[in-house]
């Protein structure tokens, strides 16, 4: 989230598109209700299904899964055509005026530089025209044909309301009504907040979906202001923390990236990181990259990271591919290139696409370690549970180790929420049975590995042997110790410009501004610097007061960066530093400094007249309508059909789907056609369950006991399917037999003149737990991901559905199990 949960209440329009906030984020959704009641906000929902969010919406419009870019491009066209943009904002705070290089172009669905063989682009033409000093040229009059705003106009001109409706199936009147509501927030004192999640991310064009909306928000002047923003409602309670500390296969803590093979030296690596400003006088905060990086290396390797060894740069792993995302990992497993797997807090048998492939891949492993509080499908993939898990145990050699862990309520720690708040929590109960904290388990693995390297040497023991491990109990580091380490501390006395000591050696840092690139500071995650200072654990603060009722409670927990609640908040004020919306100021210039409710996302004494842009992380200092080379499939979003789609791409039939998305050959073979699978499938969660583990909890199981799919009345009639009757739902990859929920909430969409039916598949059921046994929606889903992030395309694929009879009524709830929890019908093979 650029803004915070509480800030939603300041919105005039709340858009929930690409998510289902009421069901997936019911607690945060209170702020939407608050906005409606206290701010008379309008709630707009765009979703293939009429969801529980839609049930409290003012306007709802259906959309065909996977077509949001067409919709949002149409919105941009509408805004530009009707001059419904916040001009002053767009002009000053976005790159609308910057001039794009000659050579850049877009034709028939492809941007310049495409290489069909590699399925990737040479992006060199996707950039600005630079002047002699290396600054981007600009034309504030917007006359230049290649200034960004004109290219954008040109790009979105094709998305007429007719075309949008033809692609998305959204009725034109609803679409235009929504355009109008969007447009109403172009006024400087009006804001729209965009709440989204997987409905946008889980597509082969996921990242561009979000870009499209971010561009809409920039045009409307809704970024950085109260009640505005791009608000990704994150998933797991700590998934924000996961990305923050770099648990992605291409990331390091604080959104630094893992070096590539080609980054042979530290300098080579840093070359591309220390972004030089592209406009005069811009902050371009990533210029400090080296400080963050060196401090991280000091946290990792302590004294072993020295100037002499380039801060142990060589000990970091280097990527030979873009990233070892989970899709690639399972592909490698399937190909026999990966034969051990430590699976911690993850249930890929349920969570990942093409379950058949996942099962097959796990079967090829030598060993699988599952670190989990529960008995998951993944840990039991080898057992024959009948149609819901047709394994042949006798043929599987994988050795499975299950290590039971504690879960959040059984340990202290912090969780980062969507609003970037680090919130400390305290242990509430002892762990049952043999469960051990994850930290204990990981420390144990580390010590064993280390002693093996120490004893046996090995090809490259240094990165392990030199790790710094200074915890009171080396066998079990405490969460508080780790938190302090993430924050970072001074390694020598730190002096300010006047020579006065600001921090003594060993003291906790106050913030990342104190980080040094000379090895005198350490910090495990630079953006977290400030969370545990000499004043104590800032994450444990529990003062909920919101002094000016602005939706900002600065003393509740701690938000990264620097306890800032609204990112880019400089953009909430006009060029003179006055709030665009005087009723809801965030920060303002008081003549000598920036003051307000929030911590300024800006140099606190930088004068408004200096022309420093509010988007301080960007080299231009501006929000990007044109993304330059940062996205793999183009600087502007373009509508591409999902990989499995019933419709042609009416814009450019030859380039149907995302041309830069990676598809493994075997997975392409497992893609179906509309002939065999005529209906659009989408998957999602229900409010009653959390993924695949609440089915172990009786209350949740009672509230939603059994697997089902949702279909519209028209399709049900066509197929003779009764309410609550049994159906067989199939894709090229597998089939699910479950019950049907025939509902008025899904209607056929008229796509390119053809009625298109959507089948909704909730994801929650599997073959373990107390709820009734199910197949899991991922039996059906395709193995392809977003071109930038490789988030699987769970939200749009092809299905068929047939009425079927009830399966034989065997142990619907839970198969008979012996004392070890193994179904009685099975003989135990392999070892646990």
């Amino acid at each position: 989230m650029t803004n915070t949960w509480q800030d939603i209440k300041n919105a005039n329009v709340v858009l929930v598109m690409g998510g289902n906030a009421a069901e997936a984020h019911p607690c945060g959704f209170k702020w939407v209700i608050e906005a409606k009641i206290e701010n008379k906000a309008k709630l707009v929902v765009v979703d293939p299904r009429f969801t529980r969010t839609a049930s409290v919406a003012d306007v709802y419009a259906p959309i065909r899964p996977g077509t949001d870019i067409a919709f949002l491009s149409g919105v941009m066209r509408y805004l530009l055509e009707n001059y419904a943009i916040q001009h002053a904002y767009v002009k000053a705070y976005t790159n609308a005026s910057l001039i794009v290089k000659e050579g850049y172009g877009f034709e028939d669905g492809l941007f310049t530089g495409y290489n069909e063989e590699k399925r990737s682009y040479d992006k060199s033409s996707w950039d600005y025209e630079l002047d002699e000093q290396g600054y981007a040229k600009s034309d504030d009059t917007w006359q230049h044909p290649r200034c960004v705003i004109n290219l954008l106009k040109q790009h979105v001109a094709r998305y007429t309301p007719e075309l949008v409706s033809r692609i998305c199936g959204t009725p034109q009147d609803k679409y235009l009504e929504i355009c109008k509501i969007f447009a109403s927030t172009a006024a400087p004192d009006k804001a729209l907040t965009s709440l989204f999640a997987l409905g946008w991310t889980q597509h082969s064009v996921g990242a561009q979906n979000i870009r499209a909306m971010a561009m809409v928000q920039l045009l409307l002047g809704n970024i950085g202001v109260a009640g505005g923003g791009m608000n990704a409602l994150r998933g797991h309670s700590n998934i924000q923390g996961l990305t923050d500390v770099g648990l992605m296969s291409n990331l390091m803590p604080g959104y630094m990236t893992i070096p590539k093979d080609s980054d042979v030296t530290l300098d080579k690596y840093l070359e591309t990181k220390q972004f030089k400003p592209l406009r005069p006088g811009q902050t371009s905060y990533w210029q400090n990259y080296r400080k963050f990086f060196v401090s991280f290396q000091k946290a990792l390797y302590g004294d072993a990271a020295k100037a002499e060894n380039n801060w142990a740069y060589d000990w970091l792993p280097k990527l030979d591919v873009d990233g070892y995302d989970v899709l690639r990992a399972f592909e490698r497993m399937d190909n026999g290139q990966m034969n051990g797997y430590i699976c911690q807090g993850f249930n890929p048998m349920q969570a990942f696409p093409d379950r058949g492939k996942i099962r097959r891949s796990l079967s090829k492993l030598k060993y699988l370690v599952v670190i989990d509080p529960l008995d998951t499908e993944t840990a039991n993939f080898w057992q024959d549970y009948g149609p819901q898990n047709p394994s042949k145990p006798a043929e599987i050699q994988t050795e499975v180790f299950q290590l039971p862990t504690t879960c959040f309520a059984e340990e202290d720690g912090s969780l980062v929420n969507s609003a970037r708040w680090l919130q400390w929590h305290w242990k509430a109960a002892d762990a049952p049975g043999e469960a051990k904290p994850d930290l204990w388990i990981m420390a144990g693995l580390y010590h064993r590995l280390k002693s093996m390297y120490a004893k046996d040497g090995g090809a490259f023991p240094d990165p392990i042997l030199n790790l710094s491990w200074s915890y009171a109990d080396p066998a079990e580091p405490q969460p508080a110790e780790l938190a302090r380490e993430m924050n970072g501390r001074a390694l020598v006395d730190i002096k300010d410009d006047t020579g006065a000591v600001v921090l003594k050696a060993g003291q906790q840092l106050d913030g990342f501004a104190q980080l040094r690139d000379d090895g005198t500071t350490m910090s495990g995650c630079w953006i977290f610097a400030g969370c545990w200072t000499e004043k104590g654990n800032q994450m444990a603060r529990r003062d909920a007061s919101d002094p000016r009722d602005a939706g900002i409670a600065p003393n509740w927990a701690w938000a990264w960066p620097a306890n800032r609640r609204i990112l880019y908040n400089r953009a909430s004020a006009d060029l003179d530093g006055k709030a665009w919306n005087p009723h809801k100021p965030v920060i303002q210039w008081n003549g000598s400094k920036w003051v307000g409710f929030d911590v300024p996302d800006y140099g606190p004494t930088v004068k408004p007249q200096d022309g420093v842009g509010p988007f301080i992380m960007n080299q231009e200092g501006q929000g990007r309508l044109f993304a330059r080379g940062l996205m793999v499939e183009g600087p502007f979003p373009e509508h591409y059909e999902p990989f499995e789609s019933p419709a042609e791409n009416v814009l450019h039939p030859k380039v149907k789907s995302n041309p830069a998305a990676r598809v493994f050959p075997n997975d392409r073979k497992a893609m179906g056609t509309a002939q065999d699978f005529p209906y659009v499938g989408t998957t999602y969660r229900l409010t009653e369950h959390f993924h695949y583990w609440t089915k172990h909890s009786l209350i949740n199981a009672i509230l939603q006991p059994e697997e089902f799919v949702e279909i519209g009345e028209a399709l049900a009639k066509e197929k003779g399917i009764e309410q609550g009757g049994w159906v067989k739902v199939s894709s090229k990859r597998g089939q699910v037999i479950c019950k049907a929920f025939v509902t008025k909430r899904i209607k056929p969409l008229m796509v390119d003149g053809k009625p298109t039916h959507v089948i909704g598949c909730p994801i929650h059921w599997g073959f373990t737990g107390v709820a009734r046994k199910g197949y899991g929606a991922n039996t059906l889903t395709p193995f392809v991901g977003d071109a930038n992030t490789n988030t699987p395309e769970f939200k749009a694929f092809l299905l068929n559905i047939e009425k079927t009879s009830a399966p034989p009524a065997v142990d619907v709830a839970q198969g008979p199990r012996d004392a070890q929890g193994v179904p009685k019908s099975l003989t135990k093979v392999g070892s646990l």
């Binding site: 069901e23 019911p26 959704f29 209700i33 009641i37 529980r52 969010t53 409010t687 209350i699 009734r772």
Partner: protein
């Protein structure tokens, strides 16, 4: 004095005695369910299970989000989902939290034959006191909202208590505390009505011309009220009664029939007594025996069988 709480009773089932009156300084409470804010998340439903230690049976999926499918002895509140399309074809998903309405004039209490099995506290809460319940199911017949459910295990009647145990110590009901959107509010009935008024004004502004408060006067008002967008048609919300009232049949049964019947029985008993005093027993006299003997002799003489009199003596 029984326990302290019993001094708060203002009504007690099957009891003609007036409940105690000293502790009367009690505010009437109400739970206000703002249907227009409810997102059907069922947090309230699970909180109710948690607080009251209820674990109803896990059922099957039957083609609706309602689970379990109906109120039952372990489900005191249930989210009901109605897909409603108006004349213009606009779809609305009307989600309502179902459960006891805590009627001011509770039909359940009226119908209950067991003294003290149903009580109403001065704050308006209608509570079932299980140890007095005999499991007859009359409350089911008495309730205009189809709320109470009899357990097949212990044959006692169950329903929402409005968390009388929490309210009694100054806490809000568990479902209220849990509701993430503030769709359930709790406080004095007056406050709730005021707040509802604001909500209704806001809904009207948004175009819900018929928005209104559901506090049906037919049962004297309720201590659980709804803000409805379509207050003109409560039945759209999964059959919330348009005009709930204690059935006339129940009224007759528990009303006039009782005194009339008692009078009738008393009249019969007294009548019989009076008759026995006035007329005395009807005794067979010696004369009757003599007549009988005479006739028997006669018959013997005339030669036994054959001449049948009227009336049969077959058996």
């Amino acid at each position: 004095m029984a326990d302290l709480q019993s001094q708060d009773y203002i009504r007690r089932s099957a009891t003609n005695l007036t409940p105690p009156s000293a502790r009367h300084h009690e505010l009437e409470v109400a739970k206000l369910i703002d249907v227009s804010r409810c997102i059907g998340c069922k947090a309230c439903q699970s909180a109710c299970m948690e607080w009251n230690n209820l674990r109803p049976e896990m059922e099957e999926f039957q083609g609706a989000y309602e689970n379990p499918h109906d109120l039952n002895p372990g489900t005191w509140t249930l989210m009901r989902f109605a897909e409603y399309e108006d004349e213009q074809g606009n779809l609305e998903w009307l989600i309502r939290k179902d459960g006891c309405m805590h009627c001011e004039d509770p039909g359940c209490l009226k119908a209950c034959p067991a003294p003290g099995a149903i009580v109403q506290y001065a704050n308006g809460i209608v509570d079932f006191i299980s140890e007095n319940c005999i499991g007859c199911g009359y409350c089911v017949k008495g309730c205009p909202f189809n709320i109470p459910r009899i357990s097949a295990q212990d044959h006692k009647s169950y329903k929402c208590t409005l968390c009388s145990d929490r309210v009694g110590v100054g806490l809000e009901p568990a479902c209220v505390k849990t509701c993430p959107t503030g769709a359930i509010m709790f406080g004095s009935k007056d406050d709730m009505k005021d707040w509802a008024g604001e909500r209704i004004a806001e809904l009207k502004e948004r175009g819900f011309q018929n928005a209104g408060l559901y506090d049906p006067p037919e049962v004297g008002g309720t201590h659980v009220m709804y803000v409805l967008h379509h207050a003109d048609k409560p039945s759209l919300y999964s059959g919330l009664p348009d005009k709930p009232h204690i059935s006339a049949l129940v009224g007759a049964w528990k009303g006039f029939l009782k005194p009339v019947a008692l009078a009738g029985l008393a009249f019969a008993a007294v009548g019989a007594f009076v008759h026995s005093i006035v007329s005395g027993p009807n005794e067979t006299t010696e004369a009757d025996e003599a007549h009988a003997r005479l006739e028997m002799e006669k018959a013997k003489r005339s030669g036994g069988n054959g001449a049948k009199g009227e009336g049969s003596a077959t058996s």
